[in-house]
């Protein structure tokens, strides 16, 4: 148990240092990402990417909030970009 915990914590810390080795992209580069790019990068992490036609514009807003609360990993600005992209393609 102790060995496994130490190994995993070491792995975790090693992964956390990867950005220092690889070099971080600038915050601006992330801020400039389009809704389509964010949609392609993020939805896929858990489930297949949905089609814009699956929900109405209002429903996409509810879905966006749902994903923000559930996954905690996208800022409101990014969620709004994804929702706007899906609404545009609807």
């Amino acid at each position: 148990m102790k060995k496994i915990t130490i190994t995993i914590i070491t792995l975790f810390l090693a992964i956390m240092t990867l950005p220092l080795i690889n070099g971080c992209a600038t915050t601006q580069a992330i801020a400039d990402k389009s809704g389509a790019q964010l949609w392609g990068e993020n939805c896929l992490r858990c489930h297949n990417t949905p089609s814009p036609a699956d929900y109405s514009d209002d429903q996409w807003e509810a879905v966006g909030m749902h994903m923000r609360v559930r996954v905690h990993s996208l800022s409101p600005d990014e969620i709004n970009k994804i929702v706007a992209f899906l609404q545009t393609g609807n």
């Binding site: 148990m1 496994i4 915990t5 995993i8 792995l11 975790f12 992964i15 956390m16 990867l18 950005p19 690889n22 070099g23 971080c24 992209a25 600038t26 915050t27 580069a29 992330i30 392609g40 990068e41 993020n42 896929l44 992490r45 858990c46 489930h47 297949n48 990417t49 949905p50 089609s51 699956d54 929900y55 209002d58 429903q59 807003e61 509810a62 879905v63 909030m65 749902h66 923000r68 609360v69 559930r70 996954v71 905690h72 990993s73 996208l74 800022s75 409101p76 600005d77």
Partner: protein
């Protein structure tokens, strides 16, 4: 019966609300938009979720072919305003009906949201993110401490807690971090449903009412080292006192000071690789629960103790040629999952480690509907290997 009636009221309420909002013409909706502008804003609701039907085949069982699972889990999501949000899931599965969660959220600012209610346990990644039937690629869940292997499901790996949480996302240059911290009704020592006696140190985390004043505290921190969010690693912890404060005779309970600590690590890597026209995914989670040593009573009234540590691990690899030209091939996903469950060996309810290898195939009919197939071999020292074929049809809506 009363609870059942209350549960039925929830979908009916949403059907009425949804039906009303969808029956309006755009002009009517536009007029009402301006009329409904209040501190709540313009509410937007949706019913989503999934339904499934499953079958298992085991040539060594008396009943070789068994249609063994079904379920229907409508999820009601309701955006009340840019700050307020409500989500709830009703789970109707295998003869049971349950309000799986009902969480009310308020966004304080863009870095922090506060939530309250019955919520999916933010422990590891499986329960909150990968467990829904339309997300889970296999016909069943990973090998976890559930009713199939232990006398009671701990409900830590997926289940719901009653409490309050704060969560959010923090940008860190090209990386990012997300967090969830909660306080909830703490764990309790599980009791037999038939006799009411303690199950010798099994911990139950899904408690609508708490059994003591101590509260469970925990959370999860996730880290995305890369700007394209392809990799996430997470660490979760949870601590609480599961024992009653008083024994049945009114004296202090011998279990009042024992502590249950849980720890989990999860990893998720998903990447589209254009050179092979495919998407690969690697997912995994290690979880453990350790309970302080205590004396438990056997059926013959003698006392015994043991190292109460329960661990589980799964790692999953999937491959989908999602961007090839063939419509048939692009909908196929090949899967492999390795699972280990290590119960406390000396516990009455424990035993030797259990290992399971799952070979799976998923055929997608839409982004959330598909057929799942798996061949699973389960081995445990001094037990016969179990080989089983499973299939499930999942429809997301």
């Amino acid at each position: 019966m009363k609870n059942f009636t209350h549960l039925l009221c929830i979908p009916l309420l949403f059907l009425v609300v949804n039906g009303y909002s969808q029956s309006n013409t755009p002009d009517e909706a536009s007029e009402q938009h301006s009329e409904r502008t209040s501190f709540l804003g313009n509410t937007k609701a949706l019913i989503t979720g999934s339904a499934w039907f499953g079958v298992a085949y085991n040539k060594k069982e008396d009943v070789k072919l068994n249609f063994n699972s079904y379920g229907f889990t409508p999820v009601f999501i309701w955006k009340l305003s840019d700050k307020m949000f409500l989500e709830s899931e009703l789970e109707i599965a295998d003869g049971n009906i349950e309000l799986e969660y009902a969480k009310l959220s308020y966004s304080i600012n863009k870095y922090m949201t506060i939530g309250a209610g019955r919520m999916l346990t933010p422990f590891g990644a499986y329960g909150e993110r990968w467990e829904p039937a339309f997300v889970e690629r296999f016909p069943n869940s990973p090998l976890i401490p559930d009713d199939q292997y232990l006398p009671d499901d701990t409900h830590l790996y997926y289940g719901a807690i009653m409490g309050i949480d704060i969560s959010g996302d923090v940008p860190l240059g090209g990386s990012r971090l997300n967090y969830n911290l909660f306080i909830s009704n703490g764990p309790s020592l599980a009791r037999s449903e038939e006799t009411g006696e303690l199950l010798g140190g099994v911990v139950q985390y899904e408690n609508l009412d708490d059994n003591n004043t101590n509260k469970g505290i925990g959370g999860r921190i996730g880290f995305y080292p890369f700007a394209n969010s392809s990799l996430e690693v997470g660490i979760s912890g949870n601590t609480g006192k599961p024992g009653d404060e008083k024994a049945e005779d009114g004296t202090d309970s011998p279990y009042k000071d024992i502590t249950a600590n849980a720890l989990a690590f999860d990893l998720n890597y998903v990447k589209a690789i254009p050179s092979i026209s495919s998407i690969i995914s690697v997912k995994g989670q290690f979880s453990s629960v350790t309970v302080d040593k205590a004396n438990y009573t056997l059926s013959d009234s003698t006392l015994y103790t043991y190292d109460n540590s329960l661990k589980s691990f799964f790692a999953q690899l999937s491959f989908r040629p999602a961007t090839v030209n063939s419509t048939f091939l692009k909908n196929i996903e090949l899967l492999y999952r390795y699972n280990v469950l290590t119960p406390p060996e000396e516990a009455v309810w424990g035993g030797k480690p259990i290992t399971r290898n799952d070979f799976g195939l998923c055929y997608w009919l839409s982004w959330r509907t598909g057929l799942r197939f798996a061949y699973e071999t389960t081995t445990q020292e001094s037990s016969e290997t179990k080989n089983e074929f499973l299939a499930r049809f999942v429809m997301g809506f």
